[in-house]
């Protein structure tokens, strides 16, 4: 029964050594048969050899940390069989049968969707960034009422470009992949896509609040969309560097975006109780032909004032009891 030795370093990266020529020395010194780059191993740490009974065994060569097996420091030699695991410093030595059955190969599938195919090309990525800047320019221009809006449009585009670049750069540096590349373009694409979606939904939200004023559903939906987009953004950044499985990426995304939203919204909601002498209302107006606006009658509107009265009364009575 032939054995092979799997040496796994502290980062989990494996290397294999055949046990054909014994004895084999292990340690940090470059004169060893198996060189282990682990600060917790001695220069000459261990030796694998045939013992008196003809079995292969591994033995400590007088090292500081010794060899550990099953969590305990081993005294004397350890007989080596398939499945035996020995710890040498921070390195794990695993002995395996060369005839061990390995799982079959996976079938290579084409890229999952249009999304990833298009995004992978430089043209696709560039198009998304340009589209995002164009959308920012358009939205700024449409909201501007001076005679010459070019300066505010330019300022907005520069700000959007600057913020996305900084955001992408932080991700590029912090999440430098195992291939040691920055993937800046990929990160820029992700943040541009997120900005595009949020901008688009904000415009939609304006129309929704116009048609359905005082609707909690619309406000909650907006928060929900931001939550999902933020989660997708983080998952997207993680996918650019191929970190984690897809499920884990999305989980990381939702946890982060959920936490962020709570941190941002909580103080605002707590402050709702603070006094203000400015009336809080949604003043957004939209150009809709008169016949298409869904309206209440005057009586329905005045009936709704009962809600406002109750809230005001509650606040007054609340302060009465203080």
């Amino acid at each position: 029964m032939a054995l092979i030795l799997e040496v796994r370093d502290g980062r989990g990266i494996p290397a294999w050594h055949r046990l054909e020529t014994l004895p084999l020395t292990l340690g940090r010194a470059l004169s060893n048969d198996i060189i282990v780059d682990d600060p917790y191993t001695d220069a000459h740490h261990a030796r694998i050899q045939l013992d008196e009974s003809g079995e292969i065994a591994i033995e400590d060569a007088g090292s500081v940390n010794g060899l550990r097996s099953d969590g305990a420091r081993a005294n004397g030699k350890i007989i080596v069989r398939p499945g035996v695991e020995v710890r040498m410093g921070r390195t794990i030595l695993r002995f395996r049968d060369v005839n061990e059955v390995v799982p079959p190969a996976l079938v290579e599938s084409p890229p999952a969707s249009l999304y990833s195919r298009r995004l992978e090309t430089t043209f696709g990525r560039g198009a998304i960034v340009v589209l995002m800047l164009a959308a920012v320019a358009l939205v700024t221009w449409l909201g501007n009422t001076e005679r010459s809006s070019s300066s505010s449009v330019l300022a907005a585009v520069l700000a959007a470009a600057g913020v996305s670049f900084v955001w992408a750069a932080i991700w590029a540096v912090a999440a430098r992949g195992a291939d040691r590349r920055f993937h800046l373009a990929g990160h820029m694409t992700m943040i541009s896509l997120a900005i595009l979606v949020v901008l688009g939904y904000s415009v939609l939200n304006e129309w929704l609040t116009f048609f359905f004023p005082d609707s909690t559903v619309v406000s909650v939906a907006y928060v929900g969309v931001v939550l999902v987009v933020l989660a997708a953004l983080i998952a997207g950044h993680l996918s650019v560097v191929n970190a984690l499985t897809r499920k884990r990426r999305w989980r990381a995304g939702f946890i982060t975006s959920g936490t962020l939203l709570v941190l941002i919204l909580a103080p605002g909601m707590l402050q709702d109780d603070e006094f203000s002498d400015v009336p809080p209302f949604e003043g957004r107006l939209k150009p809709v032909p008169a016949s298409l606006v869904p309206t209440s009658t005057v009586d329905e509107f005045l009936g709704a004032i009962g809600e406002a009265k109750e809230e005001a009364d509650r606040e007054k009575l609340g302060s009465d009891s203080n």
Partner: protein, 424 residues
């Protein structure tokens, strides 16, 4: 308009006394006579914090009965009514001695109060109706800016024409601290009670008949003896608003053309209206405004008044902006804050409902906000703001503000107002 109560944060200015021309020499002799004859009937009134002894406010007052009743302004002693447990009122004699006084009755609407000092046998003004002609020389007595009892000459210029609460226009330099003091003719008849000034020798008096009415009801044998409180202010406000709000915005209300719209203007004689328009060539839109407001208000505290009503119309139109940009402008006009300010001590925050409403086939975005007074029973401030929908290049934002009103009045007035906005 500055009320004439000296609050300790007011800046100091010089007092004006009599002029010094040769003719005035003759007149000043009479003035000094008037002063010497009647000065003893006027005292200083101050409101003091009971715990620290710090002066909260002061003004003037004058004796009106042999039993030592004093007339002054409501706003001089309002702190005492707002928070009775924290303050006390006292009068200060010319010699400097202080004496505690109590508030017997007050009329917050006309800004008057009757105090009781218990001082018997002091010379007093026997107030009653006195005819007076335009241009009559009058003399105001009081304590301007805490500089000692002073006399100021002025000219009677009749009752103001368009106010809700009657006011006499006096041409004289009254100053803070003279609130509650009397303005008399040279025979010692009280014509009015000093109440406010706009500077530049434009000052106002509460006509003496209001003081007479209040004194009579305070002294009536079956008069209610209740401690002064904001609940009384609330009652006075409620009774009073029923009178003038009943016909507000009814079918006879005056309207005017405002761009392509027809809007309410001058709803009653006691409103003052004015307008302005922007003519900036650089702006790609035009903007006009028309506003009407009641001048009179009821004093609750230095930074909180009530009992007012305002109407505010704002018209915008464009020939160059595209629809989307015009509506960005329209949105910012609609969202800008033109609501009355309020103190947390007196009112709750605003609570609003927003709907798209169709009133007589005119579609509008309508917002109605309410806030309740904390210490005035069931009185509210109402704020109604509408934006007319359906046009791509012209818009009207119209606001109605009413303060110190009942909820029924808010509903009734809002409904009438909504139906008064129309296309031409």
């Amino acid at each position: 308009m500055t009320r004439l109560t000296r609050f300790l944060s007011a800046p100091a200015l010089a007092i004006s006394v009599v002029s010094s021309t040769a003719v005035a020499q003759e007149r000043s002799a009479a003035t000094s006579e008037v002063f010497s004859r009647y000065a003893s009937r006027v005292i200083k009134v101050q409101v003091v914090e009971t715990s620290s002894g710090a002066k909260a406010s002061f003004g003037s007052g004058f004796f009106v009965t042999a039993d030592g009743h004093i007339v002054t302004n409501y706003h001089v002693i309002s702190s005492l009514v707002n928070t009775p447990e924290r303050y006390r009122a006292e009068l200060i004699e010319p010699g400097g001695a202080t004496l505690a006084v109590t508030v017997v009755a007050f009329d917050a609407i006309n800004d008057l109060a009757v105090l009781s000092s218990g001082l018997r046998g002091r010379p007093y003004f026997d107030i009653g109706p006195t005819p007076v002609a335009q241009g009559t020389r009058l003399f105001s007595l009081g304590h301007p800016k805490d500089l000692g009892l002073s006399i100021v000459e002025g000219t009677y210029n009749g009752l103001l024409l368009h106010t809700l609460y009657p006011r006499i226009h006096l041409t004289a330099s009254l100053n803070p601290g003279m609130s509650g003091g009397p303005t008399i003719d040279d025979a010692g008849h009280v014509i009015g009670v000093n109440v406010s000034t706009q500077g530049n020798q434009v000052s106002f008096l509460v006509p003496v008949d209001r003081a007479t009415d209040l004194l009579r009801s305070a002294l009536a044998a079956n008069a209610r003896r209740e401690a002064p409180s904001l609940a009384q202010v609330a009652r006075q406000l409620r009774d009073h608003q029923d009178v003038f709000l009943r016909t507000m915005f009814d079918s006879s209300t005056k309207t005017m053309e405002f761009g392509p719209f027809r809007v309410v203007t001058q709803p009653a004689p006691f409103f003052r209206c004015w307008g302005d328009a922007t003519h900036d060539e650089d702006l790609p839109y035009e903007r006009s405004r028309h506003r009407c407001a009641t001048d009179d208000d009821i004093y609750l505290d230095e930074d909180q008044t009530t009992g007012t009503m305002t109407i505010d119309h704002e018209l915008i139109s464009t020939k160059t902006l595209n629809t989307s940009r015009f509506f960005a402008l329209y949105t910012s006009v609609f969202s800008s804050d033109n609501s009355p300010s309020g103190l947390e001590e007196f009112v709750t925050s605003w609570k609003c409902v927003t709907r798209n409403v169709r009133a007589d086939s005119l579609p509008m975005r309508a917002v109605l906000c309410l806030r309740r007074y904390r210490k005035l029973g069931e009185l509210y401030d109402g704020f109604l703001k509408v934006a007319v929908l359906g046009s791509r290049d012209v818009g009207l934002v119209s606001t109605l503000t009413m303060t110190g009103v009942t909820i029924d009045n808010v509903k009734r007035l809002s409904e009438r107002y909504l139906r008064l906005v129309a296309w031409r």
